[in-house]
Symmetry: C2
Subunit: 333 residues, 2 copies
Amino acid sequence: MPMSEKSQKPHDRMATFLAADMLAVNDLIRTRMASEHAPRIPEVTAHLVEAGGKRLRPMLTLAAAHMCGYEGRYHINLAATVEFIHTATLLHDDVVDESGQRRGRPTANLLWDNKSSVLVGDYLFARSFQLMTETGSLRVLDILANASATIAEGEVLQLTASQDLATTEEVYLKVVRGKTAALFSAAMEVGGVIADAPEAQIRALFDYGDALGVAFQIVDDLLDFQGDAGAIGKNIGDDFRERKLTMPLIKAVAKSEAEERAFWERTIEKGKQTDADLDTAIAYLHKHAALTDTAVAARDWAAKAKSALTPLPDHEVKHMLNDLADYVVERIN
Amino acid sequence: MPMSEKSQKPHDRMATFLAADMLAVNDLIRTRMASEHAPRIPEVTAHLVEAGGKRLRPMLTLAAAHMCGYEGRYHINLAATVEFIHTATLLHDDVVDESGQRRGRPTANLLWDNKSSVLVGDYLFARSFQLMTETGSLRVLDILANASATIAEGEVLQLTASQDLATTEEVYLKVVRGKTAALFSAAMEVGGVIADAPEAQIRALFDYGDALGVAFQIVDDLLDFQGDAGAIGKNIGDDFRERKLTMPLIKAVAKSEAEERAFWERTIEKGKQTDADLDTAIAYLHKHAALTDTAVAARDWAAKAKSALTPLPDHEVKHMLNDLADYVVERIN
């Protein structure tokens, strides 16, 4: 391929390849987020849906369907479904986390209120459910219903695990599989199911989405301690301030000595933090190589995602998915 | 029938008639609200699900299925689905309304927190979706997906309509159809659909549920101004304090003169209320016969519900549904 293409980011190459489909997805999203009776709904959703997210999840569904030779139109429904579920969880996360910004813009619950975020999120869940029912595929419905339950379960688990220094990497992985990877894997899987792909390919799609999602979230959690606030669109140290036990913290806590342990108990368990504590926390993370070890874990998951692609048909989208797994962990540097 | 049966409340007679089914529904609810990974979930849901609600909505589904001669087992799934959707909306309402009690007990968001209420509600929505997918009926999925969207839309509409003195009875009816009647009508309708009843009967089931739901909500809104706090399990005047424009208020505002108008602007639009204002509000409601006119409207809807039953097969459950419509408005006295 020409240099100019090679140098493009993989999700931009996917966006170019899937441009016609993505136009159809965006049209469907705009149509279905409208509400005859409640104009507040499109006001709130437009803020999120038009906010210029990368639309990564719906692209995964479209990519999977294309790779498996699908020629129908229901992949458009499913891509919109996946984006609606994602947007609904963002709206509910904003209520939950009391976070101050999302994608570099104020969250909906600051612009409107918690009430609107909860109810408009519910509306989008219901709409996503209508969109997938239209496909007439009970297997697709089953996959996305299970994914929705797993997402909510992961979020609740995160709630009870945060502030708890006993949280292990195993629990962290369950949280990540729920809150992030479940939708990535379902987005891939339904693309294969709607294309009536062989079972081994459907399994491969699931495995790729699962590993990509885990890698993606680990990197996100890593960047929370070492990223550039402008680039990642959120504040450095948010997770620390919200007392979330993410992989870097779990690794550092596991190696902490008495004095450090007291620091974590005060800042994470008791939530007594001063402005200077974030720097101290980051120093402890460096001391125990928690950030570099976390980067290694993220790269392992990206490698798993790439090797999961093996059973899938050769297709230009397959190369993009391969490069996407690399790109997700390139964000670390 | 013996006097002792006749003197029983109609929903108690339904509960007796449907006792075996309701045991199966309760078992299914308990099984499906469990979570392997997140023990917080059953803690929160048990609080609501075990709180001794009347289980009116699932009984409607069971009743409709029996009346239409259904002999399978999926009505159990659908009854549990309907109760899960209802419980999820209660959890999200509690966040939204910041109300202090529900069914006479503290709300989940006071016992736990808003985060748990939002996320556990999401979990129940996803679980309800799994339960209905198991029936394999796309028509049932379509009905319940639409009902879920209508419920959320009604709640958002209520959000924008509250504090707004320009709210008409037409807007109020849309809110009520959404937040209450949509689930009543869907609960009835899916019972007929799963039984493969003739279309005219399915329509009749929908119409009964719709009219019963509207009557039920109008009575609820009426009792908010004239009920007995102990009996209805919530505080008198909650809607007034939350500046909700329900039917009694809309009727009184429509007839208000200058001085009263200023009172409503201060208390509802501007939200500047003192403890004495509720008594003044109630006095204005009596002055314009707003409470008695609202009672008339509720009785009209109950009559509509009863006449909707006409096309349905003669069945002992049909008599109970007829009496249930009467009972809903009897609560006024």
